[in-house]
Symmetry: C2
Subunit: 130 residues, 2 copies
């Protein structure tokens, strides 16, 4: 529908999004970051850390995932800079490194909700249910 990007109020510069004319080498970094967040299990872990730092056992319990699986995902999240690792005795405590990931997820949630609502309205209009 709307073609050009025009939202002057947003803190991120709308006219210079920086994403255009970027070489694939740079886009690969962005793609890799999105890829880390493109798995349900990792989003579950991120959600589990929303309430604060947790050790691995707590994350396993909260998510219901297997131990080896959680360990692997935590490594991926750590390497991506999304969570930080801190050892405490035999336990290892993980926490969100940058809460902006929650804003990211929220933006997507909002967009998806708006999208679904629009689809529902169009469907209702087609069916004359109004």
């Amino acid at each position: 529908m709307s073609a050009a990007s025009s939202s002057p109020t947003s803190p991120t510069a709308p006219d210079d999004c920086g994403v255009a004319h970027l070489p694939p080498s740079v886009l690969a970094l962005v793609a890799d970051f999105f890829k880390v967040l493109s798995e349900v299990s990792r989003l579950q872990i991120v959600c589990a850390l929303k309430s604060g730092p947790h050790n691995v056992s707590e994350i396993i319990e909260e998510t219901g995932l297997g131990q080896a699986n959680v360990s692997k995902h935590l490594k991926i999240l750590t390497q991506a800079g999304i969570v930080t690792r801190q050892q405490q005795g035999t336990s290892v405590i993980y926490q969100i490194a940058n809460p902006f990931v929650f804003e990211l997820c929220q933006s997507v949630c909002d967009a998806l909700a708006a999208q679904m609502q629009q689809q529902n309205q169009q469907l209702a209009a087609l069916q004359g249910l109004r």
Copy 2:
């Protein structure tokens, strides 16, 4: 669905990010959306559409991707609601459906840049390069 119905005033409520306590079924929608943006080729196409609507041939030329490949990616982007499709004669014109994807990419770019800068500073401190 999400906790998005709680704060109608602010677009991104920081206290109620809505991403916590979400069932995997909802997280799957978010994950699928991120997955669409987690491929360099699709980001290339999105970038190509930053300057405005383009037909498939133009996208092929701008991205350097194969025709069948572009067609497949455009289908994925369309199904995800990221681009819209409009036929014009023998050509099909695609355009960005919601410019918020650019804000998303920009947020990730900013975060990655800050992350890399921080790493560089830590490295310099370790090496005493100041």
